[in-house]
Symmetry: C2
Subunit: 516 residues, 2 copies
């Protein structure tokens, strides 16, 4: 794979700058605007069912409560807000969480350094971001292995080159060759310098969340960060009903800085929640309400997302399963609950339990992507590249999934029905038994009429056989290489780039390496 | 593959019959009941758009008209009904087709010889039938080759063994080793004797449709066939706007015998219909209205299905493309049009343009299957086994797709929200930080809580690696072998079986072989 990791310093107006810019723009790095749905959501629960679940969630918060672990300040905030606190358990009067959540915005803008790539999160929008979290990577050539920072950078480059990906994501893979306490610096530097799309901050320690804010202040300017949301970060809840101090500490930093958090139960149904769809939805709602209410205790108006990472379990092996009908039912239902709260919604992704980017992976992924579009998801993390239940980031699957995301864009546009689009003149021109290939309406519209994959094979058998009978994996492997070869780093003010490098170097020097 | 083609004659009550029956029932050949949806349809067109399309279809029928080719009797029927007939062109006063269609039933029962497997077609039902029409077959061992009658029989056996397939289908592949004018006899004999699920009749000549009815009279009894629908057959329209005498001749036979027909435009958008979704929908509606109106001229009340086989085209190569967003938009829209007419709806399928059962095949298929469920399809032909744009029936993809159909069943059930299913007692029992694996609610429900694939790999990496790192294709190949080995022919009265054999032999002897 192309190694473009070396940071090339560029200066505007000096000799050769124009030529270099021309070279850079020779390769298209077009990015589609985030999706604005013009089709309805699929609503599988009726009002009575939704009310029952909402009432059940209030019962959980009131009777059972949630634990805020190792976090005396949080317990004090809850006490001050009127909750009943006993030990680390927080029980809320009915209605309290809902009342606190009322200050959370229904939509917000996350700014990108390339403002054309800023995204709206909420309402009818859908923002697509890549896989998050795997310690392993996989490709056709090298198989499965621990991820490195160079893998990480290549995924950021692929995300930058992917037309249908609006967001650079966060931990696209874990760079296991960098000390645990320093890798967030290298990851952020990669998102900030190798891409110009929006990105996520670190959540693995409150101090790393503060580092993320400080690096954003260098990249965007301190005043801009004070007034704008420039990161959307992932705060997982330790389901069932547990809010640990690491994740809550990061949330506290981000909410105080007016940066967005996804407040997201992480549930394998049957293990971290009841084995029923209705029970899981009730617990998810209670957990999200507690987390988002807490974010508004930190700073009323702080931007948040109703998150739901929920999947089913194989009761034979205990393994989580993906692309399953129960996961779909939960995702559709949670979307309805989020909309009733007027909150942006995060769920779905290119999920699969398969160990390879094979047919299983594609069936499960396609089930999940379609469900994500139709369930009203506003922010889809893991929208490409996820493999093996989230243990692996796959290079080939990244470009395979990213290509499918194009189909979601087109489907979401809906159908324009007008005299022009009904094309009765074309039907008159062609008549019974004719064909439309050459008619005026076809000539005027064929270039834009149909979405076209940049990856899949549409050739007839004979041409495909002559080309070497390549399967999707082989085609994807070639596309990964091509995109990385074509990649050119987007321009960044060298003074800012230098300041970011200095910040990372200073932070790394200030502490010994830690690998656990 | 197992060769179970030899017809074994069985008699009840003779020595060994009980033992053979016990052996046969030892292998489960459970078939799920057809799907009855408890979730809504996705409606992407508003009332105004639907009215525009309906008005446009009336304009096509009135101004442009349709051709009934080589069919003077049909032209006379149209004249008698009040249409304007000029040459072979039939133009209808606005409202005539709609008025004639009013006698078509909104749902009907197709009886199977095993009455437990009879299906309801219409309303909220979804009946799943296998691939139809390919001249080639493909498997992992032998690659791509012309289909034979033994391939055909093996697909019928696989369909019989597939829990989620409600229908045995029709031309699951073309048995190219049998003369063209005789293969319908062997195909029908296979469906009738190797399976006990409902099936389709021949449509390639009116005389073959009559043979199909006569064979059904042997299988079901003449009186039963006179009073019940026992076949659902596929009548394609030669889009644009052309009804040929072969297909219409078959429709005339079936409608007169009160047997069901799918009246189905066959459209590659941009070639056989305008290059826009709205234009294609308008033409589809006009064609279906003309065809169904004609069926009711033959026999008012004859059961029919609003069919739509519509896909997009790759304007670079001219190849049809599958699993695309435009095909989805047309399928969703045509479903709305069918429901407004109160007619059963046929569309979707396990569509793909891929030459292999690889990731492309699975992405495209999964897109199509999900769309089929959510667009309100009542009869889904091609629900498993389709490959290479319909040129190939794939053994492995047959079982891969058939497995995915299980997920559709579960998703269609919807979500039960009750005090019991919300499981607050389980949340109380487990509390913050616990797990649900051992709790009472989980123990009571885990066996039925989650749909489970019979094919896909859910194992962790290490166990999967030890098992030989098998991909989906390899797993499917093993499943095909296993199902064919486990297959046992369902019982059939030997007198009936003998009469069917005699009928086929007599018909074959009565004409010379024809291979084109």
């Amino acid at each position: 794979m192309a190694d473009a990791a070396t940071v090339r310093r560029r200066s505007r107006g000096t000799g050769g700058g124009a030529a270099r810019r021309a070279e850079r723009t020779a390769v298209s790095v077009e990015t589609a605007r985030y999706i604005e749905r013009n089709i309805p959501d699929l609503e599988i629960l009726n009002d009575e069912a939704l009310s029952l679940i909402e009432n059940g969630a209030e019962t959980i918060l009131h009777e059972i409560g949630v634990n805020f672990v190792n976090n005396p300040a949080a317990l004090q905030r809850w006490r001050d807000a009127g909750a009943d606190v006993s030990g680390e358990r927080v029980r809320m009067p009915r209605g309290l969480a809902r009342q606190l959540m009322a200050t959370a915005p229904s939509r917000f803008t996350q700014a990108a350094r390339n403002r054309e790539r800023s995204v709206e999160i909420g309402g009818r929008s859908l923002v697509l971001a890549p896989v998050y979290g795997p310690p392993f990577v996989h490709d056709m050539n090298g198989g499965r292995r621990y991820a490195t920072i160079e893998d990480f950078r290549n995924f950021v480059r692929l995300g930058y080159m992917s037309k249908w990906l609006h967001h650079s994501g966060g931990t696209v893979c874990e760079p296991t060759d960098i000390p645990v306490n320093k890798r967030h610096l290298d990851m952020l530097l990669a998102h900030m310098t190798l891409s110009d799309k929006p990105f996520m901050g670190s959540v693995t320690e409150p101090s790393r969340a503060r580092d993320s804010v400080e690096m954003c202040e260098i990249l965007f300017g301190r005043d801009f960060v004070a007034e704008n949301t420039v990161m959307t970060s992932l705060i997982n809840i330790n389901s069932p009903l547990t809010f640990d101090d690491t994740m809550m500490g990061a949330l506290e930093v981000y909410a105080a800085a007016n940066q967005a958090c996804i407040v997201s139960p992480f549930i394998v149904g049957g293990a971290m929640a009841p084995v029923s769809v209705a029970g899981t939805l009730t617990q998810v709602l209670a957990e999200v309400m507690a987390g988002i209410a807490y974010s508004q205790l930190i700073r009323p108006g702080a931007p948040v997302i109703f998150g739901a990472f929920v999947t089913s379990i194989d009761m034979n092996s205990g393994a989580p399963t993906f692309g399953t009908p129960e996961a779909a039912q939960i995702t559709y239902g949670a979307g309805q609950l989020a909309r009733r709260l007027g909150l942006p919604y995060r769920s779905a992704g290119a999920f699969t339990g398969s160990k390879l980017p094979d047919a299983q992976a594609a069936y499960e992924t396609s089930n999940s992507l379609n469900m994500g579009l139709l369930s009203g998801v506003n922010f889809m993390l893991h929208a490409c590249g996820w493999l093996e239940g989230g243990l692996v980031s796959s290079f080939e699957k990244f470009v395979m999934d990213a290509d499918q995301l194009g189909a979601l864009h087109k489907l979401a546009q809906g159908v324009e029905v007008t005299e022009e689009s009904m094309a009765l003149d074309a039907v008159r021109e062609v008549g019974p038994g004719g064909h439309y290939l050459g008619c005026a309406h076809t000539q005027a519209h064929f270039k834009t009429a149909f979405w076209r994959s940049d990856l899949l094979d549409y050739k007839p058998f004979e041409a495909w056989a002559e080309d070497g009978m390549r399967d999707t994996l082989t085609l994807a492997n070639a596309r990964v290489r091509k995109l990385l070869e074509q990649y050119r780093q987007p321009e960044l003010d060298p003074a800012i780039h230098g300041a970011l490098n200095d910040y990372v170097a200073r932070k790394k020097d200030a502490a010994p390496d830690a690998f656990s």
